[in-house]
Each structure stands twice: as structure tokens, then as C-alpha cells.
């Protein structure tokens, strides 16, 4: 089962907002000259910002009664501002642990070239169905 796709379009302004909100002032995220001197194509999206985008795929889907129990991300590639960040997910396992109904999902972010730069996993707790 696929989770709804979420397309984010990070802008350089958003990277500045994220830097301020997180306290991550590493220059590769807002200073283009610095990024180019460090062999980057330009400023790049903060890893945790991309992680926030893919977490949203799971938290949007789980609903107000759901709870995120586990979440993991791997940083495999860069995301650039000004490009679409296509975030997707799919259910890979449903199971019960004690009293909890759990769903494990694969979630990931893709750049416009179809490369999965940020794969991840999420385990959500869903309220019990009244069967």
C-alpha cells in the first residue's frame, strides 16, 4: 500500500529559516561561494530538513490518533533548493506488539532525476480498529 506522495520545493529562503530555527549555521546551506569552494554544485538542503520532509509522509498518513514510534534516515545524496523533493512511502509490514498495532513503512526522498537520496523507515502505532 502506497502512502500519499508529498512534493516539497525547498527554497534558499527556507534554508535560511531552517538554519535560524535549528541553529545549524553551516555555510554550505546558505553561502553559495562557500559551497562552491567546497566542491558542491551550490548550497544544499540540510539533511535534517530532508528528513523532516520524509517524516511528514508518515505523520500525515498516520492521522491525529497515530503516533510515530520509530524513524530512521540514511543520507545517501544531496538535495538542492529550487528542485522538487519528491517524498514517498509504502507499507512493508503490519504487526502487533503487546497491545499495540504497528505499521512499518519504507519512506524516502527522491530528487527530480529519480535518485533516492534519502531512504528511511518509519514505524507508526495506529489506534486499534474496532472489528
Amino acid at each position: 500500500m502506497k502512502l500519499p506522495t508529498l512534493v516539497k520545493r525547498p527554497t534558499t529562503k527556507q534554508l535560511v529559516m531552517y538554519a535560524g530555527a535549528s541553529g545549524d549555521y553551516y555555510e554550505i546551506h546558505y553561502d553559495k561561494d562557500y559551497a562552491l569552494r567546497n566542491n558542491l554544485p551550490g548550497v544544499i538542503v540540510h539533511g535534517l530538513l530532508t528528513a523532516s520532509f520524509i517524516a511528514q509522509v508518515a505523520t500525515d498518513w498516520m492521522g491525529e490518533q497515530g503516533r510515530l514510534k520509530k524513524f530512521s534516515v540514511q543520507y545517501r545524496g544531496m538535495m538542492l533548493p529550487g528542485e522538487d523533493c519528491i517524498c514517498q512511502g509504502k507499507v512493508i509490514r503490519k504487526f502487533k506488539e503487546g497491545d499495540e498495532y504497528l505499521v512499518e513503512c519504507e519512506i524516502w526522498a527522491e530528487n527530480p532525476h529519480g535518485e533516492r537520496t534519502t531512504p528511511g523507515r518509519a514505524v507508526v502505532v495506529l489506534p486499534a480498529r474496532k472489528d
Partner: protein, 142 residues
Amino acid sequence: MSQQSELPEAVKKLIGVESPPVVLEVEKGTIYKFVEAIDDPNPLWKEEAPPTFLSAVLGISEPGRSPIKVDIPHTGNLNGGYEWEYFQPVRAGDVITARSKVANAYTRSGRLGPTLFVIFEITYQNQREQLVAKVRNTLMWY
């Protein structure tokens, strides 16, 4: 094991080392600005912080913020990713204490040449001494 024997002394000494605690008083405005920055309109985040909040604002494994310094010659440093486990919500007014420790370190030959991997484990507790979250963060030096 052979990989452990390739570790620089400076790194071997860090395995198992615990950092001093780092404390954050969670303010409503901090959560608000973070939610605005990540552009996530979920109404849940009016009541609690989103899942990446603690690592973003109190991510004490990152080289710039870590009380545990990995002091070796290197060309660059990369973040491999995170694994989070959540136990309690984080709300405005909470006082969160973060503690990190080096859980493991090893060297591997990778795309960028010989690479040092350091796995940090971070625990976050609130003012009620409840465990709020546990995180494993993999950092690399090459």
C-alpha cells in the same frame, strides 16, 4: 578484532565515553519557528514538537555541537544518518536533558578512501525523568 586495531588511539579512547549533559528549555516559539521552517501544517505540532526537532535543536553528536570531540586529521566529515525511537512527546515548557556517548567506532574503505565511522547514541530525558527519545547517529570522517 582487526578493524578495532586500525582505529587511531584518539578514537579508541572515546568508545563508551559519555558526554556531560546538555540541557534545553523547550520554548513555544522555538517549536513554532521550527514547524514554520519545515513547512509542516499538521495540527499535531501545535501541541508537540515534530520528530526531527530534538536532533535539529539539541543534536549533540554533530561535530560543531558535540561535547565529545573526535580529534583526528581528516579531509572531510559526513553525516550518515539517524535512527530515532520515540517514547514521550516533547512539549513547550519541557526541560530536555541530552546525553551522548560513543557506542562504536570502526574504519572501513569506502568511496572516499579510508573512512572512520563513529556511532553516537543520544538519550533525551524530560524534567519528569522520563525517557523521551533515543537516537543513534552515524558520523564519518575521511
